[in-house]
Symmetry: D3
Subunit: 159 residues, 6 copies
């Protein structure tokens, strides 16, 4: 059985992430979406809140599980028996950093492969940062995040 | 009448910004330079100080007004009747983020277009961050910022 | 009256080009789409054929004219009284070359400005080269080129 | 059974390609390496010669087959029942074009996914073009191409 | 005598930095490695600790000295009589910012040249940030930092 | 004595090349400018014509010699005792290919180092291709090429 891991900070999950989850879940026997700490940024939602928001969004995808971890990515992958890490690429600036991290992981854990998927062109503009920027000003988020979590974001913005 | 909006944090305004303002003011009937909040950074000058510095610099350009706003960019554009947003591009790294934001704005407000202008090659190296870095060490800022605001920067650096 | 020039080789015109034409025609009083020689490539259609294909596509846009020219871009712009050149940017690799050319034109003819527009995210993947590659293998071109010119491409491919 | 397709012009196959083949063959049940026409370049070896050179190189990888095709990539993938296309990425300039093509394929054949793998950092400098450039001057190719095909290249160079 | 300056924050020094130091020390009569403040980040080690770690690492390179400075780069270079600044480039994202800074320095101090060296392909993935990320999770740092400083990092991580 | 080699196709030499030659000649004891074959393009001038044009341009720089070679770059460098190769970088697209070639040379001849210099911001827009494009249309070349060779280009264009 081929298990793939899709890690991210998902703060919050966007329609772009959801597009990657759907496509990756069709390729591998099991897909584990793992909400991880992004040490560089003050999060909007806790790890558990973010995992819960994704779970509501992907409830119909039977081979997808959603977890949280504060562990190192390759270590967590080994623990759950995943030998594939999935990353979505939207644009050039993603590419450079993700490429470096993929090469560094390869040194630490040569058995684990990173596979990149191109984000759908409909979502090249879309990131969690863009969502937060838009939410701050009360913009309509319908084209940005899954319907199931819009209430969570509005509540958090205090609007 | 065609109104264009040139937004930025302008902390402080540089000769590169001024070059864009001059060129854009010749293309459109009216150009509104709008000083906006850059949530990611601790500013050197307040919104009003920055607007005031630009006003002294562009006083001879008759169709240019300088304002401040803490509102969302597309909302502010609509309020003042601007359907064009002007952005200067200096280098690749600008391009990627500005491109994403332009596409996101297009979703929220399809009537507003973003037009990019290439910074003059003389100013490709120049940004507000570079100016602040240089000012910190007491470097001569003559080639970096308009003459009219050099005193403000020196005063703020306490030098 | 503000006249803008949208130059390109348009071999053939794509839905991405058409998207730029529509948006630019709303910003300027008059838009001249000019089919130009691309010295680096063996063309599929002649200059006149290409102009004719665009004309059929934009016939409903009243302030748009379509011309051909073998002249230098800035010279042609001056001749027709255009002081704006419009370029669409799809991706990083476009940016670098277009940026250089914009700076070079600025040296030769400082009065003419180049303005860049981001291609709609729906068309970031789309170029005349991609269309030709697809046409070669008989792929369905419906999502790539205007309906009005599909017959021309099929006829040229001898299919 | 999950079949993946690794297409390329492989003119000639390099140690970088071989690294991707080895890693991809461990992820999927079956990997089809397909030598395809690169319309833009005059090839050094025929399609069949190139396929034969790869076959000698991968003979020990049991789930790898090597074929040639002059068909369209997505069509060929469907014919052999592959729903995954594998692409190696070495550098930024690869990324931009490959990204566009992946998005275009997605329009034509939404069921087929493209997955990108980062080339090993040892081979970021390596491409068939570099090999040909080096071979032209009689450089030692040991660090560039598989041992099994060095004779073929030397013979072709007439040395 | 030709003196070159290799500035950086070196927090901590990596095998990639060491590779640049070795190669640059063979080109110039004297190489000054200068540990400088990186205002954007909270450091892991003090300036002096970082300099001391580099000194232990390069003790066998006779024409290399290691200093610290809180001064402006070009000013420090002038003070020590260096007219060359050495910078390592790993990837695109380095390039853009370093390029801007090199052009800005050229305005302030035209006599000082910046020369860029490509990081060895073995170290394209490697940066001080990657090292800190890996250290946080207790990964083996053998392929990342010089042997002589591994103890310092482990001690600082409290492990 | 430190000898550096500045290779290129120089078809024709531009003010940007000349800027690099001047700056590099101040850093190294001797600079050899070497005109080399660019296999990908049909040249405008022969190797000897190009070398002659550069010689007229740099006649006042005493430690600069101009040669031609059809040999492999690293081989030629070794033959003339140069252990430094100088390359000018103007923009991102240069960087990617030059970086790959520098890494490949390092494999073949580890003793030879490639050093990159940033083109002056005044010349970021400038390349031999831009010059030829401009010359084709009879544009004034004063800001693009050295005064000494303008006649050669006009003569070749038959104007």
């Amino acid at each position: 059985m081929r298990i793939a891991l899709y890690p991210g900070s998902f703060d919050p999950v966007t329609l772009g992430h959801l597009n990657i989850i759907r496509r990756a879940s069709r390729i591998f026997d099991r897909l584990c979406v793992c909400v991880m700490v992004n040490s560089g940024k003050q999060p909007m939602f806790t790890l558990e809140e973010r995992a819960d928001m994704i779970r509501r969004t992907v409830s119909r995808l039977e081979n997808v599980v959603v977890e949280t971890s504060e562990d190192m990515l390759v270590k967590y992958a080994k623990d759950i028996g995943a030998d594939i890490i999935i990353k979505g690429l939207r644009a050039m600036s993603d590419f450079d950093w993700e490429f470096q991290m993929a090469l560094a992981r390869k040194i630490i854990e040569p058995e684990i492969e990173t596979l990149f998927m191109a984000s759908s062109s409909k979502y090249t503009y879309l990131s969690s940062s863009v969502v937060k920027e838009m939410a701050k000003y009360g913009a309509d988020l319908r084209d940005f995040v899954p319907r199931e979590i819009m209430g969570d974001i509005l509540a958090r913005m205090g609007k």
